[in-house]
Symmetry: C2
Subunit: 138 residues, 2 copies
């Protein structure tokens, strides 16, 4: 759950630095060691994947492992981030990503958008409270 | 700021109902009475529009009014929503939209993705704390 600790500590500063560290970490794990993504969630985490709602570390981890492709490569086009709460709030960060996803054996990459809400648990460490993924067709 | 009050009161229930009511309201205002979008923000609101960060009702309202097109029509493809906080949190809702944007005089619509974070201010009423917009090229 605290996998981001080291990166966020290294990149002390704005939510943009945390967001970029998180995005690099998340897609690196997704493309190289997908089962390790489970370290980013906790029992309250929510994932909506192409409209399907999934809750909690175990079910989210199973969903990601059982996606109908084994090898893939994400290319990130844009990363936007904002603090999710007003002064005195929880210190969360909303991260909004667009990019493309190349599946092994497919000719053309698929465009996607993805939103994360990161919540701090200790100073400099975050978990994924919210995640929503959509392919962008058309 | 409390423009969503009536809709949210009518649609008591899940965050999905609030999200759909909000999305219908937001894009209706955007396409028909863009200056009225200012009613959805407050002084702490954040908008990131194609990477440009803007803060507060007045600057956000000015940005939206000054976009380089007068007439447009949004078509919504998907609306995903999740509660933004764990138990005991603020009751916010993250709304993740994909769709297309037809500009007046253009042949082809533009694909876009947009994320909102709605924060409750009174029972059944929300304002936009966070908003991020990206066109999806390619």
């Amino acid at each position: 759950m605290l996998e981001i600790l080291t990166m966020a500590e290294t990149n002390k500063g704005s939510e943009e630095e945390v967001a970029i560290a998180f995005v690099n970490h998340y897609y690196h794990l997704f493309d190289n060691d997908r089962s390790s993504l489970s370290t980013l969630y906790n029992p309250t985490s929510l994932l909506t994947f192409e409209g399907q709602k999934i809750c909690g570390v175990e079910d989210i981890s199973n969903k990601l492992k059982q996606l109908p492709f084994d090898q893939c490569r994400h290319s990130i086009s844009t990363v936007d981030s904002q603090p999710s709460s007003i002064a005195g709030g929880c210190g969360g960060i909303i991260v909004f990503v667009s990019g493309s996803l190349q599946l092994h054996g497919e000719d053309h990459p698929l465009r996607f958008s993805q939103t994360f809400h990161l919540i701090p648990v200790l100073q400099g460490s975050f978990f994924v409270q919210n995640e929503m993924f959509r392919l962008n067709y058309g």
